[in-house]
Amino acid sequence: MLYREAGQFKASYIEDQQIFPIRQDKIGFIAILAFFSLVVPMIASEYWLQAILIPVLIFSLAAIGLNILTGYAGQLSLGSAAFMAVGAFGAYNFMLRIDGMPFIAALILGGLCAALVGIAFGLPSLRIKGFYLAVATLAAQFFIVWALVKFPWFSNNSTSGVISAQKVEILGFAFDTPVSKYLLTLAVVAVFALLAKNLVRTTTGRSWMAVRDMDVAAEVIGIRPMRAKLSAFAVSSFYCGVAGALYAYTYLGTVEPEGFSLDLSFRILFMIIIGGVASIMGSFLGAAFIVLLPIFLNVAMHALFAGTMPAGLASNLELIIFGGLIIFFLIVEPHGLARLWQIGKEKLRLWPFPH
């Protein structure tokens, strides 16, 4: 009976309002954070840092962004990748055009650009709902990518439309090794995740969820749907924008508008659905799952069938298994990995009794 809240009493509302009211959770969280910031940099190979951990972190941030919009505020969006693009190109242009621009400021300004664009494309949500809105967000997806390709100013007139991120330097320290990039990403993501967690458990978050669950009722109790929806769009796009900037600066180094395709938007959507809608932790779990799964499949296929199966078939088999697993997970737990985790905890709480 390791996981028990019995015996933990809360004497004040402050204690009850904490992120982790249960002691085991808090310890667990600190342990995980310590592991990822202290142990991982020492043991992880460059491949793990560069090709797995950094993207997982960045996608987690984007997934948090989408989760705020879709999970918490209930506005289905298929344009997250485009908002990432705005963030990436925004940060790039701030760095490029303003001398001595601090990186963190550029990151945030990039995010703010995305937030503005997000608000613009969020306006229709005041009238449009559900899948209609989802398809409408595709307008953002296609339009933004088109505009970034079309107007060379955004990519500083690069013939190929590709931008290469400037060197990242904070207070004179250059972040140019995988480890330092990883730690920077981790720090940014951890801070923003915490902020997001705070947002969703206070009034702002409650008004988002209220609008999501029943917007007429929300309005009747005094929540203004316009403010709630637009703030969700703004915050969500901000997160996606920051993630996009990190994508350019700490992950790929160079990005092109077409890289922020509809496919990427779907991938992020998968992350929140598989991870768990309306769950910050789910965003992390989902991002890890969706980044790792294809890699795992690819490696597994090679290990199992190298040489014995035509390469084309192997690649298609990967695709089939990927699709199949997605469906499988949705069936097993439509509420995502975060819910599985919760059920696990509930069982643990009851353990060893079945009910």
Partner: protein
């Protein structure tokens, strides 16, 4: 002016082709509230299966590869494959997800997209193939002669086909018992179950019909641009049509298609040059979006009911 009409007519006819793909979406959405993202992949799968059989059959039977017999045999076999696909989808994907939020089902269909794409290419290979339906994609001569205007025979044929499909499906939904049951299921899965509507059967039927529509769309599109992976992208052309016409309306698909097709072509020709062209990717979406601001449920879509 002649040019304007040429573009307009060309656009309208292309629009009908978009509608053909949109129709598949409407069918499934109407009957189960599922936004089936896999429709594009189904179009690809259907077309690929058709040409696959068409290549295979002459070798097995010794029939003339270009003959009508092989064509229809391949058609029937491909249709069979689509029906099997529909039934399997119902069994494996939808049945366990009854009564789940729509977004979950939507995601499942994206998963299905990968699955179908993988299976299609796994079976038939990644080769790009040509497909000829025996109707030349040429201008109709007398229109060309009399008005110097270009109207494609092939497009006219496709438009007529789409028209027939739309009309019969619209009637089916509105006036038959099964059609009514389909609409009921879309509203409330659990209530439909409670009065004994066999969800399984209903879904299998719709998916099979959607498979048939996908096959028709696949043949037409395949004949236009070859049977290749890019057929899955026809879905992206169909989506703005769908929101403009309304997710739940069969006639909406065709009207939406006409509007989108025509305005997209006119915009490309008359607005495109000012902004550097290539606006066809997003213009239909923006148009549909602007339209939704006026009518949030599309032209003929059902209104979202929220009464308190």
């Amino acid at each position: 002016m002649q040019f304007f009409f040429e573009v307009l007519i060309g656009g309208l006819l292309s629009g009908v082709l978009y509608a053909l793909v949109a129709l598949g979406f409407v069918l499934i959405y109407k009957a189960s509230g599922v936004f089936n993202f896999a429709q594009g992949a189904m179009v690809f799968f259907a077309a690929l299966t058709f040409v696959g059989f068409r290549e295979l059959l002459p070798g097995l039977t010794g029939l003339d590869p270009e003959g009508a017999l092989v064509f229809w045999m391949a058609f029937v076999l491909a249709l069979g494959a689509m029906i099997v696909l529909g039934i399997l989808t119902e069994k494996i994907v939808l049945r366990p997800l009854v009564n789940q939020p729509h977004i979950t089902l939507f995601m499942a269909t994206i998963g299905l997209t990968f699955l179908v794409e993988g299976i299609a290419q796994g079976i038939w290979g990644a080769n790009v193939r040509g497909l000829s339906l025996g109707i030349a994609d040429e201008p109709v001569e007398w229109i060309m002669d009399s008005a110097n205007m270009l109207v494609s025979k092939f497009d006219l044929f496709a438009a007529a086909l789409a028209g027939v499909l739309v009309a019969s499906l619209a009637l089916f939904f509105q006036y038959t018992k099964v059609g009514r049951a389909l609409r009921a299921v879309a509203d409330d899965h659990q209530a439909a179950l409670s009065i004994g509507i066999p969800l399984q059967q209903i879904w299998a039927i719709v998916w099979a019909v959607a498979g048939f529509v996908a096959l028709v769309a696949g043949l037409i599109w395949g004949a236009r641009s070859g049977v290749q992976f890019a057929l899955t992208f026809t879905a992206l052309k169909a989506l703005p049509v769908l929101i403009l016409g309304g997710f739940t309306s069969v006639p909406g698909a065709i009207v939406g298609g006409l509007i989108i097709g025509a305005s997209e072509k006119l915009a490309e020709v008359y607005i495109g040059p000012f902004v550097g062209g290539g606006i066809e990717g997003w213009f239909p979406y923006m148009l549909a979006l602007a339209f939704l601001l006026v009518r949030p449920e599309g032209l003929f879509g059902e209104r979202h009911i929220d009464r308190v």
